[in-house]
Amino acid sequence: MNASFRRRMLPYVLISPLVVFIGALSFVPTADTTIEAFFRVMPLDPPTRFIGLGNFRELFTDPVIRESWVNTAVYVAIGVVLSVVFGTAIAVALQRRSRFRGVILAIIVLPWALPAVVEAVIWSWIYNPTFGVMNSALHSVHAIGGYHVWLGLDRWLTILLIEIVQVWQITPLSVLIILAALQSIQPTLYEAARVDGAGPVAMFRRISLPLIRPAIAIATVEALVLSLNIFDQVYILNGIAPLGSSIMLQTYVTTFTDLNFGGGYALSLLVTLATAALSMAALALLYRRVEAA
């Protein structure tokens, strides 16, 4: 082999492990999901055969799965709104330089770095009906008359409290993304505004907000994908109970408890398509506003 041939082949050699990995373990499986969603796949009850939209029909007639779509929409709405609003607020609070910002940032990132399972176990203890700190603290400030069972009774309260656990974990992502955008704003813009007599609220609305919109779009999409796929927190805090169940939990139950792989494939495909569509929509919407601004 001569040197120029080796040099020409070099890029292919460098990317070949990547192509093998992503090809075999991302593209092939995604294609497999797409195809098998239209087949009846029951490992304990063969044969596998083509059933067209049969799996999807079955999914839409199952009341638990139908409800879990609604639940997931609520998880996403709460997760996106809270993590982006908190993320923006915290980023703005940290915008001003301070000796402690490095330390504060390290602490803020901590919830993101810890396993969601461990966090959910901790929060389940916080929410504990008998010995939980939430009951005790709210009771001691007279916010509640008696101790409550927080999870598993009221559908929307259960979803809200589970999603707060996820918001606690993913808000640091929004903080970092939005803070980076805030830091790239020229300080002279704020100085000019201050000379014109603008207050902090006006400066945030007129200067910061338009310039951090792309970052908010990215934070929105990250929160959207994560909350649309919420599993760990629901599994730990709510088990496989139908009340408050998420669509990812139903995919798991359908596939690995009911052993209806075809149904699982169909649900996976729907979640994937929903994720892609919503991400694109959020990016298009928020990015277009930037151009208009």
Binding site: I15, P17, L18, F21, A89, V109, L114, I122, L176, M248
Partner: protein, 308 residues
Amino acid sequence: MADAGTHERTARAVTRVTEGPAGRALSGRPARALGRIVALAVILLWSLFPIYWALNTSLSTLSGSDSTPVHYFPSPLTATSYRQALGIGGAGAGISSQLWRSLLNSAIESGAAMVLTVVIAIFAAYAFARLRFRFKRTIFVSVLATLMLPAYATLIPLYRIMASLGLVNTYIAVILVYVSGFLPLAIWILYNYFNTIPPELEEAAAVDGAGPVRALLRVVIPVAAPGIAAAAIITFLLAWAQFLFPLILTTDISTQPVTVIVAALNQQRIVPFTLLMACGVIAAAIPGILALVLNRYIVQGITAGSIK
């Protein structure tokens, strides 16, 4: 795809976030300064309280933790739960042997996934950032597109692939799945980092007779060390936190990571919360300490990795 100018801005923004100068945005009168201190206190309380609460309970006695109203400090303070969880002094043999083994499994699976992901990502990201080849853009965009895919799009087929290869309940299955899942993000982080390095550095090496491979190994990798560290630590943390994939890919303690064991202990309902919190703190200790010590790289990696 972001152009070179965006990358430069990103890199500058990242530097500012991590090193902290120059953000004199809002003016500081005393009332506002007080407001800022209150805001920071709320932020820190929100971030730290659940972690503090786990520590508090794990250091309490059973009767101290099961009290109404709750104690906000451990009274009396005891390390009994940690002794039980870690099997120090022969206490709690069943749980401690499971916990130790699962920590080892987590370390092997996350460590191997990190090394493989970073090595493969360095070569690929270098090729994407510096070399010319056919279908480069198509391959690059398709790899990054999988970032938008929920990991679970591949859950069932990956399980069936591993089952058909007889790899269920092996380290290999878990590691392969992690690598395929984390490669796109690692490549994106490294690609952006390589683009902030002036090509003149390698050109100088080329003048000295070094080929692209030597330039990569001798010039680019040392200069890109912070970016590589960011990709490595983020991959490790994501791998350590995995739950759903190991839940289906591992079936017993020979391969189950610590997340699966903590979830199982939680499900048993007979493990007291003091011991459960101690196990949780132990499971979160390694990522927690890494996150605090290597925070700079995490901030840099997340920031660079999210600017699309």
